[in-house]
Point group: C2
Chain length 380, copies 2
């Protein structure tokens, strides 16, 4: 689930399932979980028809996975997936939700007469104890560009502890994609940045003249802070397909049944993209994801469902895409080859946010080669 987030300081005190990172639960709650306690936020996600249709169809077109089975919904929120699982015939559904939203889930379960099947448990997946293992783990854990929020860690934790051998993951697979794009946004952000620096210079002059203090030693850190904010932070966008100017590439594939936290700590991909638009500007890269509901090899889906967040006119989602802008944009033409090296790691200050390095080499179809560059980005 995509969610806006503020605050960057992590802390100490409790493991989060792999690696040496310790996460302070209080801080994690104040920065991350708390937004999910708001009905308004749940409603936003429940109003995402593409998202809702995908999970609805994945469940109801594959009732054989649910009929008479036990199900665990990780991060149940309002409990929608848990309720659908029950309606599809599950014998028992455990809906685990860390925030006070669990109270609303409980009320919904009762109001929809599913209380004999669905049991809502308030707490984090890492701390909860279930009375039994389950046949199916269902969860809507995807953040912007798939891994923002690092919620899949909690699904892995649940799977390793509570999924029976031969059990099924919903979704079963996930992929991250990237493609070169054009966008007017880069010009805007550059203009905002320039305006901010002009304002800084005027501010410095005034502060020296009226208040006798020289602020010039802060120009460099200020410009770095502003650069990070305006130019280096990835942006949420609902890209139009026409903005995609080259071939898209898969940069990560995840098998939800077998992936470990270690597998997802780092995303590293070197990929090629070919420009498909005649005479245009490479303004940056767009990133998105898809997930699939295929069941497992031993227990496959009857109807495979796909949920994609690729740029679309009619089927956009609340996830949008994540956009990484280049400054300045580069003129490219059909046939130009873009060689990209992409690396994404978790932020040291906050394991739910990401840091990206994006290196780019452009070989123009005229056989001219532009000097390569490497940019740093932050997914906040």
């Amino acid at each position: 689930m995509g969610s806006h987030q503020k605050g960057e300081r992590g802390g100490s005190s409790n493991g989060s399932g792999g690696g040496a990172v310790v996460v302070d639960k209080g801080v994690d709650f104040a920065q991350y979980f708390c937004t999910y306690a708001f009905l308004y936020h749940q409603k936003e996600m429940l109003s995402d028809r593409v998202r809702m249709d995908a999970y609805f169809n994945a469940i109801f077109e594959n009732k054989h996975h649910f009929k008479g089975k036990t199900v665990l919904d990780v991060g149940a929120g309002s409990g929608i997936l848990a309720m659908w699982s029950a309606q599809a015939g599950a014998r028992k559904v455990y809906a685990v939700e860390a925030t006070t939203m669990s109270g609303h889930a409980q009320a919904l379960v009762k109001a929809n007469n599913l209380q004999d099947v669905v049991e809502v448990l308030e707490g984090s997946m890492e701390d909860i104890t279930l009375p039994e293992q389950v046949d199916v783990i269902i969860s809507e854990w995807m953040g912007y560009f798939l891994l923002r929020e690092s919620m899949f860690d909690s699904v892995i934790c649940a799977r390793d502890r509570w999924l029976k051998p031969g059990g099924v993951m919903y979704p079963s697979h996930a992929r991250m994609w990237m493609a070169p794009i054009r966008s007017g946004l880069g010009d805007q952000k550059k203009s905002d940045y320039d305006g901010s620096m002009n304002d800084w210079h005027a501010f410095m002059e005034d502060t020296k003249e009226y208040y006798g203090v020289d602020m010039s030693v802060l120009t460099k850190p200020f410009s770095e802070e502003q650069m990070k904010y305006y130019l280096q932070t990835s942006l949420w966008q609902n890209l139009h397909p026409h903005q995609v100017i080259g071939t898209a590439a898969i940069i990560k594939e995840i098998d939800c049944l077998t992936a470990t936290v270690n597998d997802i700590l780092k995303v590293k991909s070197d990929f090629l993209s070919s420009i498909t638009l005649e005479n245009t500007r490479l303004c940056g890269f767009g990133g998105w994801f898809d997930v699939h509901f295929r069941g497992s090899k031993v227990n496959p889906a009857q109807l495979e469902i796909e949920l994609t967040t690729a740029p679309s006119v009619d089927n956009s989602t609340h996830w949008g895409q994540q956009v990484f802008l280049l400054h300045p944009p580069v003129h490219v033409s059909e046939g130009d080859a873009i060689s990209v090296s992409f690396t994404m790691d978790r932020s040291k200050e906050n394991h739910r946010l990401m840091e990206v390095e994006l290196g780019c080499e452009i070989k123009q179809s005229s056989s001219k080669q532009l000097p390569p560059f490497r940019n740093k980005f932050y997914i906040e």
Copy 2:
């Protein structure tokens, strides 16, 4: 200093100077302090000319308080007050700052050649140890409507520990004010709320029709959440003096030399206001504050300076005013008497945010009495 804030969960673990409230330092940092580590935010406050002029004049028109003296700047930020104190002749200035902004303050001190006088200390006032007591404590601690952020607690802690007998507080006094106002904002917020509830009803229908789940049990909690957000949360506004439709009243007075944390835990005031505009709508109440730099009785200022955040055309500040809107507004006329009972307490979830109860009785000059009402508000 006014600052936007997000997040409402408090926690456990460390005292905050009075009362039974324990504050988790990690959470406090993630929710509160972290915004002050940004240069952009410091620049906003440093660009507030009314604020800057008041402190600048308070110091340089009263050099006798600083010449050869020791000074403590609580929550020094960029260190501006500390640097001015040094420039005014202080022998030694301790600038205490809890965030990494202290590093920038240190750089500024050096660049302005004040390192022999100003010592920057990174840490919270509650934890820091100074080598000596001081003659003057200077601080810009005021939040929206004076007490939001509850930063004065830290100033009190500093004063009780580090101010010499006979020492002076900068500012020396603070007052909170309220007045009845008119505003188009209430109509807008009511319209936003109504739109949100209409949207909810459409959402409920769709969810029942397409997804087979009845959300109606959540209508009440959703409306409460939306009401709190749109109608009951105080708003930052820069009021025009023409929007003030009745006499203003002082609802709190603080002597910064003697006030205890207990004195400021609760603001309770019953006051009267007389409508001064002919035929208008009482849309709500505006709240603001002023502070004064008077020195102390034994060591008074030579020139008393006032910093006011009252509605003003030319002298507005980054604090604006806090606006508490009534729904619906009430028609009033010149001479009508408004009797207000105002109570403000700290939020249980977050001691830096406030909860308000505002009771109102209107006696119309035609001797008609409107039914009294009492509204709850949140300062977030």
